[in-house]
């Protein structure tokens, strides 16, 4: 049993660290496929990467229901840390989550299980924060869409392997859809619902 005093710390400087982390995430979202770095990191419970922890401290609060995947929710440390530092309620029903934290991509549920927004309010959708193995090596992906000057190339090792095939549903759902933030330690890449990805193989 971990006591609060034993929990990994949050940001040393809450205000400026959150600002710096937000700008990295905003730049990632505005320029899909570009690898942004989380510069100011905090302590993080086991399983949670530094980048994920920084994003949690920056964007989560009592207004953002969270859904944790099986591996995250198995760890009492993760739930305690999130509760203490962000106050965000953890929910079992993924379809009402503002954010979903996924550490085991192989077990990512079907995307329709998350909130996709409505036609009138497409912003009311779950943002997936997916921890991946690497965002600088692995298979090559070709990305196109708003935020990208022509074509962007992403090299990444991502599970589930068919993530981008699954995300193709964004094309028909738009403006509804799923926005994904990929995290590998302190590296962040965003794949908003407007991004179209072609798998180039290895």
């Amino acid at each position: 049993m971990t006591t609060i005093a034993e929990l990994p710390p949050g940001f040393a400087d809450k205000v400026l660290s959150a600002q710096s982390t937000f700008r990295s995430v905003m730049d990632a979202m505005a320029r899909p496929g570009s690898v942004q770095r989380i510069v100011r990191t905090s302590g993080a419970p086991h399983i949670m990467m530094r980048g994920t922890a920084a994003i949690a401290l920056t964007l989560f609060d009592h207004d953002t229901p969270l859904w944790l995947d099986a591996r995250m929710s198995e760890s009492t440390d993760v739930a305690k840390w999130l509760k203490f530092h962000t106050g965000a309620p953890v929910v079992q029903d993924s379809s009402i989550a503002g954010f979903a934290l996924i550490s085991d991509g192989g077990a990512l549920p079907s995307l329709e299980r998350f909130a996709l927004g409505t036609s009138e309010y497409p912003d009311r959708s779950t943002t997936l924060i997916l921890q991946v193995e690497s965002l600088d090596s692995g298979r090559s992906f070709e990305l196109r869409g708003p935020g990208i000057d022509g074509v962007a190339t992403l090299q990444a090792s991502i599970r589930p392997f068919d993530l981008f095939e699954r995300l193709r549903v964004n094309e028909t759902l738009f403006p509804r859809g799923t926005d994904v933030v990929l995290v590998a330690e302190d590296a962040v890449v965003a794949i908003p619902r407007t991004t179209r990805v072609v798998n180039k193989g290895s």
Partner: protein
């Protein structure tokens, strides 16, 4: 005691988180208006409270801020907002477009092309382009959901029927990423082409109406028009009286009560830059005339 009276950049952290989440969704859905819980700011609605909140949520100590009002760095609104952030966030400020990382604007896009490391934050009075055609929010929301924009084309057509051309000169509606019709805020339509495929991120904040929207970099932005009445930017047919620029947006300034007027660049930084580079217009003051006098 030197304890700061305000949090960094004025807003409290919970408000910033809420605005930041809205900004991320706005970027993910280009041109769609994300509702947000706009706060009271220490300035009245109509003075840029939406833009100020967006700026406050993104601004960091390493940023260099520029604020313009109708292209000018030197008007009350621009100066007060610039001072507001210099005081509450201790950020460096500038009037040079190129040096700025965050530019907050009221009703203009700078003449100097923007680059990738910049964010342009617009102050928006009425974010809903369909509002004057359909007053009910429930209906305009439905129209956006269905991409039902026929009414907007009818409005532009009525311009043509009445005046022979599309008479809308500012807040000229655009379609973003071939999906949402968006109000570019009351910028002159001269500026619309600058929004298309722009390397900088463009964020829009409407404080009173509580909406945030965005255009990501390198995104298609098309001004609505007709095949036989294509979109045309408008500009007074004159060079700037101070820097002789032939391609900048001009303000008309009345100089007396006998019909005298002059046309000058609305973008003061652009105009000053050109004057510093030696460009002179017909009404340029000081160095030019003195020099002329000393030789004559």
């Amino acid at each position: 005691m030197n304890a700061p009276a305000y949090n960094f950049a004025y807003l409290d952290e919970q408000t910033k988180r809420m605005i930041r989440r809205a900004i991320l969704k706005a970027i993910a859905i280009p041109g769609y208006q994300v509702p947000f819980a706009s706060r009271e700011m220490p300035m009245p609605y109509g003075w840029g409270t939406g833009g100020v909140q967006v700026t406050a949520a993104i601004l960091g100590p390493q940023d260099v801020l520029k604020v313009i009002d109708q292209g000018s760095d030197d008007t009350t609104n621009a100066i007060s907002i610039r001072k507001f952030f210099a005081k509450t966030a201790s950020v460096a400020t500038t009037t040079a477009t190129e040096d700025a990382t965050v530019i907050q604007t009221r009703h203009r896009i700078p003449e100097t092309p923007l680059h990738e490391n910049q964010v342009l934050v617009y102050q928006v009075p009425i974010p809903e382009p369909l509002r004057f055609l359909e007053p009910r929010e429930t209906e305009t929301r439905r129209m956006h959901a269905l991409a039902e924009y026929g009414l907007m084309h009818v409005k532009l057509y009525e311009d043509i029927a009445r005046f022979g051309h599309i008479a809308t000169a500012y807040a000229y509606p655009v379609k973003v990423n071939a999906r949402y019709v968006m109000d570019p805020s009351p910028t002159p339509k001269f500026d619309n082409p600058k929004m298309d495929n722009c390397p900088a991120l463009q964020l829009f904040g409407a404080g009173r109406e509580k909406r945030i929207y965005a255009i990501p970099p390198y995104t298609q932005v098309v001004s609505l028009d007709f095949e036989d009445h294509p979109f045309e930017p408008y500009r007074f047919n004159a060079p700037c009286a101070l820097c002789a620029a032939e391609n900048s947006y001009l303000d008309e300034i009345v100089t007396d009560d006998k019909g005298g007027r002059m046309f000058v660049c609305s973008d003061t930084d652009y105009c000053e830059g050109r004057q510093a580079a030696g460009h002179r217009g017909s009404l340029s003051a000081a160095p030019y005339k003195e020099k002329a006098g000393s030789h004559g």
